[in-house]
């Protein structure tokens, strides 16, 4: 498809899509790690309270 071309193919939309996936998935994973850590810290506090009451 590119054999007879004299200029680079216009593939900018695919580049944007590719980097949207790369940055997007990495961001989602970072948020997920952060949320899990926050929830676990809350769980730990609750369990410590329960243990103290017992």
């Amino acid at each position: 498809m590119f054999f007879l071309q004299d200029a680079p193919a216009n593939t900018v939309n695919y580049m944007i899509a590719g980097y949207a996936v790369i940055f997007g998935v990495m961001l989602i994973y970072l948020i997920s790690l952060n949320l899990r850590q926050r929830n676990l810290n809350q769980d730990l506090e609750v369990l410590k309270d329960v243990e103290e009451k017992d």
């Binding site: 498809m1 590119f2 071309q5 680079p8 193919a9 216009n10 593939t11 900018v12 695919y14 580049m15 899509a17 590719g18 980097y19 996936v21 790369i22 998935v25 990495m26 994973y29 790690l33 899990r36 850590q37 676990l40 810290n41 769980d43 730990l44 506090e45 369990l47 410590k48 329960v50 243990e51 017992d54």
Partner: protein
């Protein structure tokens, strides 16, 4: 509440700085590829993500071996953490590769040996997470997980060498002149520098994420133990 080690904070900043630099190099330093155009820029982070995926699975297998010899649960946490990160980055690798393939191969997907083995590898490790979900006893879960991480690692060299062992349209980045390879990939010095810098950056990202994920894993372990103690 866990206190964050100072070294981890330093690693966070170094990794973030490297990531910004690598992104800058990809978009402003690396030259435009003469045939493929802008989509070729996906290649730098696509390969780096694949590298992190395979590195993660290697770390998981090593941690699995250490767990089986020591039965220290911290190695189970390392193995699980590495596999989770590996799944995320292997997913990035597969999807970004598919997007790159659309304008270059004129298809989103083809059952090429490299693409197929990479997908099988991803599914094998996704099944690892499912296996863990199904086992209640933490020691048994860790033991099964360790064996699975070791056996599952067979899929990693198979994926890496698939483009060399079988006829494939997938480009080979390292050692392009090998017999049987259909793909070829010539890089200019600036492209090569950007590529190597991306690999370095993603290695830092892996180390940073692994440390964070291990901390989450330790916290989860602590919560689980406390929960079991409370129930008793």
């Amino acid at each position: 509440m866990q206190t964050k080690p100072r070294l981890l904070t330093v690693l966070d900043f170094v990794t973030a700085a490297l990531f910004v630099l690598a992104t800058g190099m990809v978009f402003f330093y690396a030259p435009l590829e003469a045939v493929m155009g802008q989509v070729q820029r996906v290649f730098y982070f696509h390969v780096a993500a694949g590298w992190v995926g395979m590195l993660s699975f290697l770390v998981a297998a090593i941690a699995g071996v250490v767990y089986l010899t020591s039965t220290n649960r911290k190695w189970d946490i390392v193995s699980l953490s590495a596999i989770e990160i590996g799944i995320v980055f292997a997913f990035i690798n597969i999807v970004s590769g598919s997007i790159w393939a659309r304008p270059i191969w004129n298809t989103w997907w083809t059952w090429d040996p490299r693409l197929t083995t990479a997908t099988v590898m991803e599914l094998i490790y996704a099944a690892y997470l499912m296996l863990r979900q199904g086992i209640e006893d933490p020691d048994r879960r860790a033991r099964f997980g360790a064996v699975y991480a070791i056996v599952g690692f067979v899929s990693v060299p198979l994926t890496f060498f698939s483009a060399r062992l079988f006829r494939t349209i997938h480009p080979i980045v390292i050692g392009t002149n090998e017999a049987g390879a259909e793909g070829d990939f010539d890089m200019t010095p600036m492209m090569l520098q950007t590529f190597m810098f991306s690999l370095l950056t993603f290695t830092f990202i892996f180390a940073d994420l692994l440390w964070h994920r291990i901390r989450v894993g330790r916290l989860a372990d602590k919560v689980e133990q406390l929960r079991l103690k409370t129930i008793e």
